[in-house]
Symmetry: C2
Subunit: 389 residues, 2 copies
C-alpha cells in the first residue's frame, strides 16, 4: 500500500529533543516551547512528482505525504485548502507595486484560514484516539474546531472572549460545541483551557500547545510556491496573532528547499503585521528582543490580532529575522480604510486582519522597504462576512 | 493562439431562433423565454483531454472552452468554482441512504453559488463593453454582482427586498454597489430593475434575463461528473428559486453526453426543493402544469427560495420531467431542524436553502422515491454565516 504520510517524529524547536509521533504530544515542557514535526523528505523526493500534485483531487490533503496523518481513514476534511491566489491589479496601481497578490483564505470551510490547522489537528487527534478537544479562541479558530470536532464525532469545548464576533459564537453553538465566554482576552481563555486539559482530560488544541495545527497551516506556503511556478514571492505580509501561519510557511519553504522543488531558492521576506493596539511582535522586533513582553491593555477591531503574547514568540521573531523581514503595526483606522478600498476596488470583502496586511504593505512602500518591482503576497485570513456583528 | 472559448451563438429555448454572441443579448422577446448558449462541442472533443482538466489551475475557468468568454483578459475572477463534494457519512447513517454527498457551494467567493453565475455574466458583459449592471436579488446574487462589478470597475445597482439578510445588504454596500431596498419580494425588485434597464441604459443581469449566468452555474454539473469519475449520481437535490443551477446542470449533462466524456450516460433524476411557503414549481409539478402560477403571499426563512415565479419556469419543469425527477416542498421548521442536524453531525453550517435539500431528501426517502443504495448529491448553496442577522 502507498504510504500516506512520511512523518518521522517531532523535535523541540528550542533544545532539539526528539518526541515520538505515535503518542499524544503537546510541547516541550523543559523549554516551554513548541514542537516541530519532522518528515522523511529524502524518501518523498523519489516518490512524489512535484508537477503531478496539481492533478490530485483539490484541497489540502493532496499534500498528504507532507502531513502527519498516517491512515487516510482518519482524515477529517471539510474541503479546506487550495484557496485562490488573486492578482490585485486595481489596488496595485493605486499603491505603486506592480505584482500584488492576495491569498484568499476566506474561501476555506468555516470562512477562515483556521480550518487548515484545525483540520490537521483534529485528524491527527482522531488517529491518536483523542475524543475531547478544548481550545481558547479569539473567534475563528473556535468556529473551525467546532466544525471539525462535529464531523469527527468529538466533544468540543471552546473558551472565547465575550467580545468575540457574534458569528463565531453562533457557529460554535450550531455545530454543537460547548462555548464558555470569558471576561478577558485570549490569554485569559487560555488559562481556562489549560485547566480543563490538566484536570479534566480534555486535549488542548491551543496555538502551538499541540504540534499539528502548524502543519495544516504550512500548506499555504506550498500552495503559494506551486501557484507561482515553484518560485517564491519577494515579500509575504501576514497578520500575526498566534503566528501559526507565519511559522508554518517558513517551515514549508525550508522543506521545499530540501525537497529540491523550487526553481529558485531565494526566500521571501516575511512581514508580521499587527494592530497598534496589540503589537508585541512589532515591539520586540524594533527593540531587538528575542521574545515578546505580554502586551498590556490589548485592544483592536481585528479580533484575531488581539493576542498579548504568542506561545511561539521566539520562533516568530527568529523566522522574521532569518528571512530578513520585519514587523509593522497598523491602526484600526488604517485597517478600516483599506478594508473599504480593497472591497470597492477588487470586490474582496476582507476581514480586519486581512485588511491589516494591505495597510501594512502601504506603510512598507512609503518607508521604501518594499519596492515597486517586487512580487508581494498579502493574506486575507477570513471572510469579512463573519465580522458584520 | 489557443482558442479560449468554443462559443458559437445563442438560441431561444422555446422557438429555437438563433442570436449572435457578438452582440449584447437578453432573452427571446417573441417567446418571452431564456436564451441558451451553444458551443462547438465536436471541435472541443478533438482538442480537450477530459482527464487533463484536473491538472489546470483550480477554479471554474479551467473549463474555459465551455464558457462564453473569448478573450481571457476579460475574465473577472475571484477564485470561484472547484468547491468540494463532501461525503456525509454521519448523516447518511441516520437517514438511511448509503452514498450521500454534499456539494459545498458556500466556499465560493462571497460565500455563495451566486458567484459562479455572476463571474460569468460580468466577464461576458465586460467583453461586450457593458459598463453599468443592475440586478434584482433576494440577497446572495446581489452580493456576488457587487463584488464582481467592483473588480471589473463597473457600476452596480441592486434592488433587494428590505427583508433580505443584513449580510447581503452590508456586502453590497462595502463593495461600492448602490443598493435600493424595496417593499416586496424579488418580483417587485425585478420590476424596478426592468425599468432601469429599459429607461436608463443599465444592463439587467436578472436570472435568465441575460444568457450567461446559467453558463457559470452549469460548471457545477461538470465538477460533479469529474469528482465522481465521469459518472453522474442517481439523484441530485437542488434548492430551486430562479432555477439557474438546475437548468445549468441539466445543460451540462447533455453537453457531457455529446462530448462523450461520461463513463456511463445514465442521467440523474433532478429534484427541485422549495419551501412550503413559496412552492410554485412543486404545485406545477404536482398538477402536471407546463408553467408556474405566481405564488401569492410568498414567505419563507430561505430568502433564496422566496421567488414567486421564475422566468425559466417552463424550462425547470421540463428538465425535472425529462430527468424523471420531481419537486418537493419542505416547511421552515423542517429546514431549521435539518440545518441543526447537518451542523452538529457533519460540521457544515449550511444556509436555509441548503438545509432544505437535506429536508427534501428525507421526505423522498420516507416516500420511497429514493432508495438506500442510490448515490445522492445535495447542495449547500451558501454559507450559513451570511444568514445570522
Amino acid at each position: 500500500m502507498e504510504k500516506n504520510s512520511f512523518l518521522i517524529n517531532l523535535s523541540c524547536s528550542s533544545c532539539g529533543k526528539i518526541f515520538s509521533s505515535d503518542q499524544v504530544q503537546t510541547y516541550c515542557v523543559d523549554c516551554n516551547t513548541p514542537l516541530m514535526v519532522n518528515y522523511d523528505l529524502s524518501s518523498i523526493i523519489g516518490i512524489v512528482d512535484r508537477d503531478q500534485l496539481a492533478c490530485r483531487p483539490r484541497g489540502m490533503w493532496r499534500w498528504h505525504e507532507l502531513l502527519p496523518v498516517k491512515d487516510p481513514a482518519n482524515i477529517v476534511s471539510l474541503g479546506e485548502g487550495d484557496t485562490p491566489l488573486l492578482r490585485l491589479r486595481n489596488i496595485s496601481q493605486t499603491i505603486g507595486v506592480k505584482n500584488l497578490f492576495l491569498k484568499e483564505e476566506g474561501l476555506n470551510p468555516t470562512g477562515s484560514f483556521k480550518a487548515r490547522g484545525l483540520a490537521c489537528a483534529v485528524s491527527k487527534a482522531r488517529e491518536l484516539g483523542i475524543r475531547k478537544v478544548v481550545l481558547p479562541s479569539a473567534g475563528n479558530a473556535g468556529g473551525a474546531l467546532a466544525a471539525y470536532a462535529a464531523r469527527a464525532g468529538m466533544d468540543a469545548l471552546i473558551y472565547m472572549p465575550s467580545s468575540s464576533p457574534h458569528a463565531n459564537i453562533f457557529e460554535c453553538n450550531i455545530t454543537g460545541a460547548r462555548v464558555e465566554l470569558v471576561n478577558g482576552l485570549i490569554d485569559t481563555a487560555g488559562k481556562f483551557a489549560n485547566q480543563k486539559a490538566t484536570h479534566d482530560g480534555w486535549f488542548n488544541t491551543a496555538t502551538f500547545k499541540e504540534p499539528y495545527r502548524v502543519e495544516g497551516k504550512k500548506i499555504m506556503g506550498y500552495e503559494i510556491a506551486e501557484s507561482m511556478g515553484w518560485r517564491l514571492p519577494d515579500v509575504i505580509i501576514y497578520p500575526t496573532g498566534g503566528g501559526t501561519g507565519l511559522v508554518g510557511m517558513w517551515k514549508a519553504f525550508q522543506e521545499l528547499k530540501t525537497l529540491g522543488w523550487l526553481e529558485d531558492e531565494r526566500m521571501p521576506r516575511l512581514v508580521a503585521v499587527q494592530a497598534d493596539g496589540c503589537a508585541p511582535v512589532v515591539k520586540a522586533y524594533e527593540t531587538d528582543a528575542d521574545s515578546c513582553e505580554p502586551w498590556v491593555n490589548a485592544h483592536t477591531i481585528a479580533a484575531g490580532l488581539c493576542v498579548p503574547k504568542s506561545f511561539a514568540d521566539r520562533l516568530i521573531l527568529k523566522n522574521i529575522r532569518d528571512s530578513r523581514g520585519c514587523a509593522v503595526g497598523v491602526s484600526d483606522e488604517e485597517i478600516n480604510d483599506w478594508q473599504g478600498l480593497l472591497a470597492r476596488m477588487e470586490g474582496i470583502f476582507a476581514c480586519p486582519e486581512g485588511a491589516a496586511t494591505l495597510a501594512g504593505l502601504v506603510k512598507l512602500i512609503q518607508q521604501g522597504s518594499v519596492t515597486n518591482d517586487e512580487n508581494v503576497v498579502i493574506f486575507n485570513t477570513a471572510s469579512g462576512n463573519k465580522y458584520i456583528i
